[in-house]
């Protein structure tokens, strides 16, 4: 080392060059550290967003539960938060939400699963390349446009079959949400099924199975973990869907599981209150946060259930 230093001392130009490259090396290292810090802050910010969401909902809900008992909230059968003698029983809103979601899933899961199996196991690769993007375009349509469809096209069409159906009902929006979520099931389900190793299929074909048998008894069970993830996503979307029901299902809370009746969902109630001008920190204002918290907890509960199921069915190759 000392030999090298001596050599450098004899050549001042080379020494300057080395010094400069050392400082530029230090600068590069500093830039490296700085970049890492900035990028980390951006990633950690995501946790802050969650804290912001949960914190806001819980904070406003605590104000609400200072005036309304939890028992009344969970067991009351009337939801009339804006009346002079308000009633805060969440059950009618939950009933509306569950009914619409149920109708939507009755469409989305069978149709979506069939489409997924067909795309993965029956369609030719070229056809799949054309059809899958088209199906994905279906999920790019803004939900408020689907609300227009539900109110002005699907419900009138249903009224031809069922003359007693009111203009606002849960059946039309439910069916439309079902159609709207078919692409999630079809696209994600197809991804999951195509990830199943070819050897499994070939083994089944070698035993003389038909395509349908391979699809239903080998590929579908093997891909169940990924398919159930698609189901969970679809369920979350249907549960939290707002604009379709706000436009087409009516805004009156109604404790019923009959999809032919009009009823407000949790999301539609939040929209209805937001359209009016409610004073900040009033009980009515706090009630939309309680409704939002209920919705978030329902979504979370189902996601956790889905996670447990997925872990149980996961197949490792």
């Amino acid at each position: 080392m000392s030999e090298a230093t001596a050599a450098l001392a004899a050549r001042p130009a080379a020494a300057r060059k080395l010094r400069r490259s050392r400082t530029s090396g230090a600068r590069r290292k500093l830039a490296d550290r700085l970049a890492q810090a900035v990028l980390f802050v951006a990633a950690a910010f995501c946790i802050l967003i969650t804290v912001g969401i949960v914190g806001t909902l819980v904070y406003e809900s605590l104000g609400f539960f200072a005036h309304v008992s939890l028992v009344e909230f969970l067991t009351g059968t009337e939801w009339m938060p804006l009346f002079s003698e308000p009633r805060f029983g969440i059950l009618p809103l939950v009933a509306g939400t569950v009914t619409v979601t149920f109708v939507a899933l009755c469409v989305a899961i069978p149709v979506g699963t069939t489409c997924a199996i067909w795309l993965s196991e029956f369609a030719s690769p070229r056809l799949r390349e054309v059809v899958k993007p088209l199906l994905e375009l279906l999920s790019a349509v803004p939900t408020v446009v689907f609300g227009y469809f539900a109110l002005l096209i699907v419900t009138p069409a249903l009224q031809v079959l069922m003359p007693d159906l009111p203009g606002f009902n849960m059946l039309g929006p439910g069916l439309v949400i079902g159609l709207m979520t078919v692409p999630y099931v079809a696209s994600l389900g197809e991804d999951a099924m195509r990830a199943v190793p070819m050897a499994l299929r070939e083994g089944a074909y070698a035993m003389g199975a038909t395509r349908l048998q391979v699809a239903l008894r080998v590929v579908y069970p093997a891909a169940l973990s990924g398919i159930s993830a698609a189901y969970v996503l679809t369920f979350s979307r249907a549960l939290g869907e707002t604009m379709v029901v706000a436009v087409a299902a009516g805004m009156q809370a109604n404790l019923t599981f009959d999809p032919r009746e009009p009823a407000a969902t949790i999301t539609a109630f939040i929209v209805q209150v937001s359209l009016g001008d409610l004073p900040h920190a009033s009980l009515g204002y706090q009630s939309i946060f309680v409704a939002g918290l209920t919705l978030l907890l329902m979504t979370l509960a189902f996601n956790v259930a889905g996670y447990v199921l997925r872990k149980r069915f996961r197949e490792v190759y």
């Binding site: 946790i47 369609a123 408020v144």
Partner: protein, 302 residues
């Protein structure tokens, strides 16, 4: 032997039946969408024209238009992109290139997955409670843009991670072997290489933000806006003004919701026309994204 033949024949018939059923269902889904769109366009025809794009909302349905909604959507998207793209790309790169496997990284990843599942109306409640009342941002373009930016953040992060992961490890190792630091590798090699994938994801994220209605209703996006926000470009120095951020606004989906929920049926063709414009914008953006992705895949496989 005849039993066996019969079983086989039955199975083949089931197989063929399913092939037909699946094709029918796919065609049915696309067909229903096509019918709905055609019907929408037919309802919209009487209103669809240049003056519809260039008129303010009005109490008279035959004079109403979407000028303020178009400008509002554009400005809100400007804020959304400014929030979502830098944050999302930075977070995606951190998670893919820098993060060590520890509890914090795990927490961030679970977090992003959960954020993607939060119903959009809940984002609106967060915006109302936190941004409007706790932080005092007001019910304006800034709040709306931030809300939608945070809402689509997971989409940008996931797209960034996927396209960064597609860069071959050998390229990075080559860069390190030449003595580059991690940041040099990321900024000069990884980021340019994954840019088109990130672009595709960003277009999809913005098209989703354009169609979002619910989170803006809760922050009280007014629906009768017969004026434009202050212009972002001014004639006097410094030539840019940020006054528009504080302005009240309306956006396309809110205007559509307002018209569709009116009892007067004459407004419905306005709603349909706004729907056609909205649909054209979102479907156009998604088609562009699909096209970009297709070209991208061809480049990688070649």
């Amino acid at each position: 032997m005849t039993d066996m033949a019969r079983i086989l024949r039955r199975r083949r018939r089931a197989d063929a039946a399913f092939a037909v059923l699946g094709a029918l269902l796919v065609v049915l889904c696309l067909g229903v969408l096509a019918v709905l769109v055609v019907d929408l366009v037919r309802d919209a025809l009487p209103r669809l024209g240049p003056e519809f794009l260039d008129s303010f909302p009005s109490r008279r349905p035959e004079q109403a238009g979407i000028k303020s909604a178009l400008v509002g959507t554009t400005l809100v998207m400007l804020v959304t992109a400014t929030v979502a793209l830098p944050l999302g790309i930075a977070a995606g790169i951190y998670l893919e290139e820098y993060a060590r496997k520890n509890w914090l990284t795990g927490a961030i990843e679970i977090n992003i997955a959960n954020l993607a599942g939060v119903p959009s109306i809940v984002w609106g409640l967060m915006a109302l409670g936190l941004l409007v009342y706790q932080l005092g941002f007001g019910r304006n373009i800034l709040t709306a843009g931030i809300t939608l930016g945070l809402l689509v953040l997971p989409v940008v992060i996931v797209a960034t991670r996927e396209s960064v992961r597609a860069i071959p490890q050998g390229l990075r190792e080559g860069s390190y072997a030449c003595g580059a630091t991690r940041w040099q590798t990321v900024s000069r090699l990884v980021l340019p290489g994954s840019l088109s994938g990130i672009l595709t994801g960003s277009i999809i994220a913005l098209s989703r933000a354009i169609g979002e209605t619910a989170p803006l209703i809760t922050i009280g996006a007014l629906t009768y806006i017969a004026f434009l926000p202050p212009s972002p470009v001014t004639s006097a120095p410094p030539f840019v003004s940020l006054a528009w951020l504080e302005s009240e606004f309306t956006v396309l989906p809110i205007q559509l919701f307002n018209w569709v929920s009116r009892p007067d049926p004459r407004f419905l063709s306005n709603a349909a026309a706004a729907g056609v414009v909205l649909l054209a914008v979102t479907l156009g953006m998604n088609t562009l994204a699909i096209f970009l992705r297709y070209r991208l895949r061809k480049r990688y496989s070649a």
